[in-house]
């Protein structure tokens, strides 16, 4: 763990130089979405359709989506760069650090980024009056879990494949997931066949749980199933990341 913290410190050092630029994407964007969708679009969505104000519906969905987006961005180009451009991972491996520490240090950093973004976003939600339950506090650890469920497999991909993979990744996987995983409308509106795909995404599992938490009344078994499914993505992702890192860095 101590060694992983040393790798983590590198990412923090880099982040200290660029944090201003990330505020826009990780905090302002979701708040703008919230204002446009929750309040703007929400004002023409009839309450009876969902049984609750649209703002309350979309707010937890965006929280989960923010966790995904921050994690995906921080696990793509930065990881590729540490292997291919500034080659900092090679520098780390010339010291007592090992591959496992590199993976863990990076995931710790992604966790930090997700946590900060989500806390700021939650503050905005509270200000908009979109939080209705003390369970909402649990969305903080949940956002970490969602973030890692994306960060781990994406960092494996970033280590393994060339940067050409990022365009399709964001265009055909992250973006559609953002739109169709229950973030903006219930997945029950999606026709059968496609709906099952939505259920299988880690984002839907995160969105559904986040929604139950901010609106109150999560059921134990359903929540545990979501958590277990997200954990599965984390565990398999970390396993793949360690393999991919080792393949690229220890030859």
């Amino acid at each position: 763990m101590e060694y992983s913290l040393r790798a983590y410190e590198y990412w923090l050092t880099v982040y200290r130089r660029v944090w201003r630029g990330t505020i826009m994407t990780s905090v302002l964007n979701p708040v703008l979405y919230l204002a446009a969708m929750g309040i703007g679009l929400g004002s023409i969505v009839k309450k009876q359709q969902l049984g609750l104000p649209y703002l309350d519906f979309v707010a937890p969905g965006l929280l989960a989506a923010v966790s995904m987006q921050v994690a995906a961005v921080e696990s793509s180009f930065p990881v590729r760069g540490a292997i291919k451009w500034n080659r900092q991972y090679f520098a780390m491996l010339a010291t007592p650090l090992r591959v496992g520490h590199l993976v863990a240090g990076h995931l710790l950093y992604v966790s930090t980024r997700v946590l900060v973004s989500v806390c700021l976003y939650l503050a905005a939600l509270a200000a908009f009056g979109a939080l209705h339950s003390w369970y909402a506090i649990l969305t903080i650890p949940l956002s970490l879990l969602i973030g890692l469920a994306f960060a781990a497999p994406i960092s494996a991909l970033s280590a393994y494949a060339d940067e050409e993979v990022f365009n399709p990744l964001f265009r055909f996987i992250v973006m559609p997931m953002f739109l169709f995983s229950g973030t903006f409308f219930p997945v029950t509106r999606i026709p059968h066949g496609l709906r099952e795909i939505a259920y299988a995404t880690p984002l839907w599992n995160g969105v559904d749980l986040a929604r139950h938490l901010t609106l109150g009344g999560p059921t134990l078994w359903r929540s545990l199933a979501h958590v277990a499914y997200l954990l599965l993505w984390v565990v398999v992702g970390v396993w793949l990341a360690r393999i991919a890192y080792r393949k690229k860095l220890v030859t």
């Binding site: 130089r17 080659r87 520098a91 010291t95 007592p96």
Partner: protein, 306 residues
Amino acid sequence: MDALIHARGLTKQFGSITAVAGIDLDVTRGEAFGFLGPNGAGKSSTMRMIGCVSPPSGGTLRILGLDPVKDGSAIRGRLGVVPQADTLDNELTVKENLVIYGRYFGLSRADVRKRADELLEFVQLSERADSKVEPLSGGMKRRLTIARALVNDPEVLLLDEPTTGLDPQARHVVWDRLFRLKQRGVTLILTTHYMDEAEQLCDRLVVMDGGTIAAEGSPLELIREYSTREVVELRFAGEAPEIGEDAFGDLVQRVEVLPDRLLLYTDDGDALVPVAHERLHPQSVLVRRSTLEDVFLRLTGRTLVD
């Protein structure tokens, strides 16, 4: 046994390609040891195995008495590595690069800051401490990489082509620093393409070719064993005439025919010059001492390998 590096039958394979084909090595404490060889000779692969970042495919390797496969992390804590391609973070400042690297070794923040200032002084980069790495010249980056490799006060410094791509001034600064480290008792292990670098810095060296060690010894020993005392270079206006190895009897040990030149390897240049003049009528004649370059070309050939 005081061998810092001990290798027997050390092998490295990448799929069906054999990069290092069973080499034996012993490097002792305080020594400056060099690997010479053309591209693809296996120098860098060997260095990466010694640096504990590349597991050997076969043979024995002990570094500081430890097994790099089992104790890689502990060994790396006592090595300093200057890799062939820089691994500096261009977005961070000179000092940040040093500090973060020191932190990888577990140095405290206060210690590493102090150490960074000393090292920047040592490599003459103090004025650039707060500048980003990006705009630095190649020589400055190289010096920073050397400073970084010293942050943990290593017992052994591994340098993979430390001065490739540098201008003569920058090379001399690097040599000077390396020489000082050697005087302080740091064991240096380096690879190089430059014969003058090898002659300047190395107590002992090996010439690698095709993954094996072709020759081993001090620069002087190698010249004595694989070349003659002097070389007479004859230059011709057109093509150099074809002559046999024994054209000059005992006076010439070896003849090399190049497109417009003849190289005559001899122990007595002064005696050879008038004879050669009379027999071959060259356009110009040059007598020089044999160098490591002659040894190198003799052992590894003149043809390009990449």
